[in-house]
């Protein structure tokens, strides 16, 4: 026995036998812990991927007006799986300013969820290490002579993504492009294959701020569909009629007649994406939109205009410079008329051609003299034919439109530019119903400093001028930025005409459209005074033929749109009592002022950043 103890043979084997299990054990533990760190790293990556993906889904839902959707949880689970980890659906949760659904996450991981600026998307990935074989086989001392399994921690990885919405606050101007004022369910009517594309909001008041019933808003009779006033609404007449818009605001309690208005997943869509149904969050009811132009005023030119000039026989003058000369009529009170004529041998040798009808409060009396543009010559006498306004046929003959004059109608039959100023169409006539651009292949423009066209009546007249724009022509009209005088000079205060932002202003005394039929026909408050239907059409393949930078204002009448085309401009607005659409217009750059602005803020996009 003593010799056995003294023997040193096999000492290494004994030591090895004693140390090897310990060595294996610690090595195993080291590997195990290293593996934990690796898996922890992979879990964190999966959690980040899942949280970002879930955020993308949530942003999509919110933009679509479906903020209550919990689809993001499915998305989180799906992308955790794609990145290597299976998690329960409740491990994806959302923190908003009003609360969260992160109870399950907190139960798994006691760490606080850090979300300083909600909303935040939270994803928790967990892994129970006890399922790993090496962990099961790992032991640690447990007191003297005893061992126990080493702790088997549940690895956790959390990702918190801060979702940042790019919220575009709808300003008072810039988001709405159409305001209909009629207290009628079809204040805006889309019929046939009509489809209004509006990258802007549609507003309908009617009954709350204009055209209100008496004695109060909700007095009888009810609206045409039986609902209580106010009635103003959007009607989609026919199964093919639809809209693609940003939002819709009505003073009424509903957007329009049941089953003929928004929301409608088959006919009422967002402008973009155009296949997404207009969400209820983009429909604002019981929201008044006062007429933003109710305070605008216009003052017609006083007096009469010269409609024709003739040289008195034998009074052709002498000493005038030969050639085509411009003559100014002398005498009277007001703005003098002008004409051109050919001078031969010092005498006027041709019939005068009127170039400016003038505006007289007191007409000159015979003999009426004229002065040539170079001041030379004398002796010619003319006679004047006058009227309340210059007939359309005469206007068409003018080489250049003169602002501040009274025109019976303004028919544009050739490429023409309107210098800055105010143009008055009074009553319309056989040539044109008011302001007409119906000739193809011409270009109609205004100076870039803008012009305003007033559609009104002649003094005491019952008929009122109207708008008619059609054909494949290019129309580029710009409203004055500020108020101007009729002759185009700036007006700083006390202006007789408030023109800022206005392209077309129709007189509020014009006969009123009292009803719009499903076929587009209008009923007038004074049928003897003519139609109450104004028209604007696109021009087919020439998609951008209508550039209207300003507002078209028909507070009492109807505007009908037909055809196809984009109505664009830097700041477009349409205010009419009724809008009847049978075409497929696209309205852009809405610019109606007001307080509702299409319903306030809207979320246009969202981004995210990792927060935890």
């Amino acid at each position: 026995m003593n010799s056995l103890r003294a023997c040193s043979a096999g000492a290494v084997a004994v030591v090895t036998a004693l140390v090897l299990p310990l060595l294996f054990g610690f090595t195993s533990l080291g590997i195990e812990v290293g593996h934990w760190y690796l898996v922890q790293r992979e879990m964190q990556g999966a959690a980040d991927a899942a949280a970002i993906s879930a955020s993308a889904q949530y942003i999509q839902d919110v933009i679509a007006g479906n903020a209550a959707s919990t689809t993001y949880q499915t998305t989180g689970q799906h992308y955790a799986s794609l990145n290597g980890f299976t998690i329960p659906i409740a491990n994806t949760c959302l923190v908003t300013s009003s609360g969260n659904n992160c109870g399950s996450v907190r139960a798994l991981d006691a760490r606080p969820v850090v979300c300083s600026t909600p909303p935040c998307m939270v994803v928790e990935v967990t892994q129970d290490t006890f399922q790993w074989l090496s962990t099961k086989a790992s032991w640690e001392p447990n007191g003297l002579g005893a061992i126990k399994p080493i702790p088997t921690p549940t690895l956790v990885a959390r990702s918190v993504v801060n979702i940042i919405f790019d919220i575009t606050t709808t300003p008072p101007q810039g988001s709405s492009c159409i305001l209909a004022l009629a207290n009628d369910r079809n204040a805006i009517q889309v019929r046939g294959n009509g489809d209004i594309h509006a990258n802007c909001g549609l507003l309908i008041d009617g009954g709350r701020d204009q055209n209100a019933r008496t004695p109060n808003l909700n007095s009888a009779p009810n609206c045409s569909d039986g609902t209580a006033p106010p009635c103003g609404g959007l009607t989609l007449a026919g199964s093919n009629a639809m809209v693609h818009i940003r939002n819709l605001t009505t003073a009424a309690s509903t957007a329009g007649p049941a089953n003929q208005s928004c929301p409608d997943p088959t006919r009422c869509f967002l402008y973009n994406p155009s296949t997404t149904a207009l969400p209820t969050s983009a429909i604002f009811t019981n929201t008044a939109t006062p007429d933003p132009y109710a305070g605008r005023v216009f003052t017609k030119p006083a007096g009469v205009v010269v409609t024709a000039v003739a040289v008195v026989s034998g009074k052709t003058g002498s000493g005038y410079t030969n050639g085509i000369r411009t003559f100014t009529v002398q005498g009277g009170t007001g703005i003098p008329a002008k004409f051109t004529a050919t001078v031969t041998g010092g005498k006027i040798s041709s019939a005068p051609a009127l170039i400016d009808p003038g505006a007289y409060t007191t007409l000159p009396t015979a003999p009426i003299l004229v002065v040539a543009d170079d001041g030379k010559g004398s002796g010619a006498n003319v006679t004047l034919t006058t009227g309340n306004c210059l007939p359309g046929a005469r206007f068409a003959a003018l080489p250049t439109p003169i602002p501040g004059r009274a025109y019976c109608s303004i028919p544009v039959t050739k490429t023409l530019n309107f210098p800055t100023g105010i143009y008055y169409a009074e009553g319309g006539d056989a040539t044109c119903m008011g302001f007409c651009i119906t000739t193809g292949n011409i270009r109609v423009t205004t100076d870039t400093t803008g012009a305003t066209f007033v559609l009104t009546n002649t003094a005491g007249g019952t008929t009122y001028a109207q708008l008619a724009v059609s054909g494949n022509n290019t129309t580029n009209l710009v409203a004055p930025t500020n108020d101007i005088n009729a002759d185009g000079t700036p007006c700083s205060s006390g202006c007789a005409n408030t023109t800022s932002g206005m392209i077309i202003f129709q007189d509020r005394n014009a006969p009123t459209t009292t009803a719009l039929s499903g076929g587009g026909g209008v009923t007038s408050s004074n049928s003897a005074a003519g139609s109450t239907l104004n028209s604007l059409s696109g021009c087919g393949n020439n998609q951008t033929c209508r550039t209207l930078s300003g507002t078209l204002y028909f507070p009492k009448q109807t505007l009908n749109f037909s055809g196809n085309g984009i109505v664009q401009g830097t700041c477009f607005g349409l205010v009419s009592k009724y809008l009847d659409d049978a075409g497929t217009p696209t309205f852009q750059n809405g610019c109606l002022p007001g307080t509702t602005g299409g319903g306030g803020s809207s979320i246009t996009s969202g981004t995210f950043k990792l927060a935890q």
Binding site: A9, E42, G45, A56, Q60, Y79
Partner: protein, 143 residues
Amino acid sequence: MFRNLLRCTRATAAVEAAIFAPVFLLFTLGIGDLGMSLFARMQINAAAQAGAIYGVVNSATGSVCASLTTACLNGIKAVMNDASGDASFCTNFMCTASFAACDDGPKCITVTASYPYSPLLPDAVYSWTQSTTVTFTAKIRVS
């Protein structure tokens, strides 16, 4: 002679060490291989995740990764190099990235890193460390 040799106790430690040294050596190298294998996995995981996150963060309209341009791909590879701790990671090994529609959304980014791992010892020695291409793919929905 042989009996004397068996009875001799001189250099027994050297003999025993000679017997156990290969075992220890194999064990130690095996542990080293296992560690390097784990490190390789961690490297490619970090690289792929970093590349995907870069693509997501820079995917907005007007940003460098609004589409998979050369500049975008270069940016992704640069962050993958950083994340792997190897400035030539994407030069020496395979790094790929792509944008495509997801199965549940309009746009996903998929970034893959691959690393051909070879252990110090031949494959026949161990079962736990074998020559293999370690691959990790990160997939994230962008929108």
